[in-house]
Amino acid sequence: MDTPVNKKKLSLKEKYSYLTRDLAWEPSYQKKEDLFPYATYEGIKVHDWSKWEDPFRLTMDAYWKYQAEKERKFYAIIDAFAQNNGHLKLTDARYLSALKIFLQAISPGEYAAHKGFARTGREFPGVGPQVACQMQAIDEIRHAQTQIHAMSNYNKFYNGFHGFADQRDRIWYTSVPRSFFDDAMASGPFEFMIAIGFSFEYVLTNLLFVPFMSGAAYNGDMSTVTFGFSAQSDEARHMTLGLECIKFMLEQDPDNVPIVQKWIDKWFWRGFRVLGLVSTMMDYMLPKRVMSWREAWDIYGEENGNALFNDLARYGIRPPKGWGDAAEAVDHMSHQFMLALYQWNFGTAFHSWIPSDNDMDWLSKKYPNTFDKYYRPRWEHIKKLEANGTPFKNYGLAKNCQTCQLPCVFTEPGDPTTLCHRETEYKGEHYHFCSDHCRDIFQEEPEKYVQAWLPMPQLFQEPINGDLEAWMKWVSLVDGEDNGDYQGSHDQTSFEKWREMATSN
């Protein structure tokens, strides 16, 4: 094609079209189905790939330019943070528990998303999504790297950061996000886009990155704000890609609508379960809080989700099946899950603690209908046991949900005093679930989920064979350093000692 001579500069639209459509070709000596063998088996019908419009129209030259600028900003701040003993400016070292969960559970998810987008970019026959997925694959590996790099500074001073790679694979609470990403990567390209591009990016990352990162800023953690906002600046592009993909599928063929709806139902609920961890970080682990999990949900879940589902209604899409149960669970989930993390804290590579009176008053104010009624009495009881020298430890193992892999610690919809438990039988075996929605997901694809690796049964298998000490070694957890109560931990004493040294002579 000739370069246009009548214009000095290409328009954004033209540049984007040269980068994408112009790179595509029709195969002449291979069949298209052989080149893109995974494009049709999910049942999604596409009639015209050229209808795919990436709204950001980012070309490679602009992409590298702006990403380089983000990296320069990031490393300038990370260097300044390390040079100025930034870790001593934290409100309190309790805050680090949230970061440890982030490193063990979320950053490896970024890496998984990188692998997934690299693959999906190859599998889509359309050149528009190929380019967008390639960029996203590079973004995701950048996120994993910058997060690990930023948190490596804390690893020089504090426990619980050193074993994140083993913990990603082996410890119990990280298997929730790991299984989420494994499930997505074991899906076809269109389902992967709904799982990550739509459910995770569009519906859920706002809840993970935005109020939590604002919280990091409030708690003096400059390095996390920096990696968080640097990552989130890419997320805006990712969300747009997810939304574009869903609109594209719905507009291409009406037969796609029920398939997309089924994926929305599944991936919303799977994502919501991953957020169980995030809810405890926001309500319990930030010494200085920005907003409660409930308030964050109201803005980024409820309001933003409803805007989106109202918009998609014109295609015949309704809100996800678990939407109502999720809205109810938001008043309970952080409390129920934090109680679980506390009672099993011999097995967590981060510290937990009994909330102070001040913390509990804040929780009462933020959860006026649930905290004082259901959760304060339990914490008060645990506090009494602790004061009597018999702290509450649960050495029993929880049942894992076969789908989301969380321990079954959540309660029945409509009855927060009864544990929710569902089961089903498949080929002569019993399978357990935390909720109706997780059971329904299993029943749609039992052959997939019967293969799930579950962290609790692993304790009784090789090489652990029920030995707790062997398990700790296997998950790279140093007993007495990485785990247990914050009170009396190395992290607590070191932080207090160093802060004292930093402010006196």
Binding site: L12, K13, P55, A62, F209, V210, A236, E303, D311
Partner: protein, 88 residues
């Protein structure tokens, strides 16, 4: 009516951008939060290159928004002169 929103990091580069958005979108509400600024608007929010250039006193490429962008909601439509979010 549905809300669209956009959020930026709080810094010297975004200050004139936010002023420009306020000028072009009288119905928008600006929330100053720790380290970030979130702007909500009913149904539609338009960011114009020209207004940003006037506020900044230099030429501006709308794709530079990417550097300080935190999040957004709504369908995006972008060209050289405008960056529009809407639920229409």
């Amino acid at each position: 009516m549905s809300t669209v929103f956009i959020a930026f990091q709080t810094n010297e580069e975004t200050r004139p951008i936010i002023e420009a958005i306020e000028l072009d979108n009288p119905a928008a509400t600006v929330y100053q939060e720790p380290a970030m600024v979130k702007i909500d608007a009913p149904d539609e929010l338009v960011i114009r290159r020209e207004t940003i250039e006037e506020q900044m006193g230099r030429e501006y490429d709308l794709q530079e928004l990417q550097v300080n962008l935190i999040t957004m909601s709504g369908h995006l439509s972008e060209d050289e002169d405008t960056f529009t979010l809407s639920w229409k």
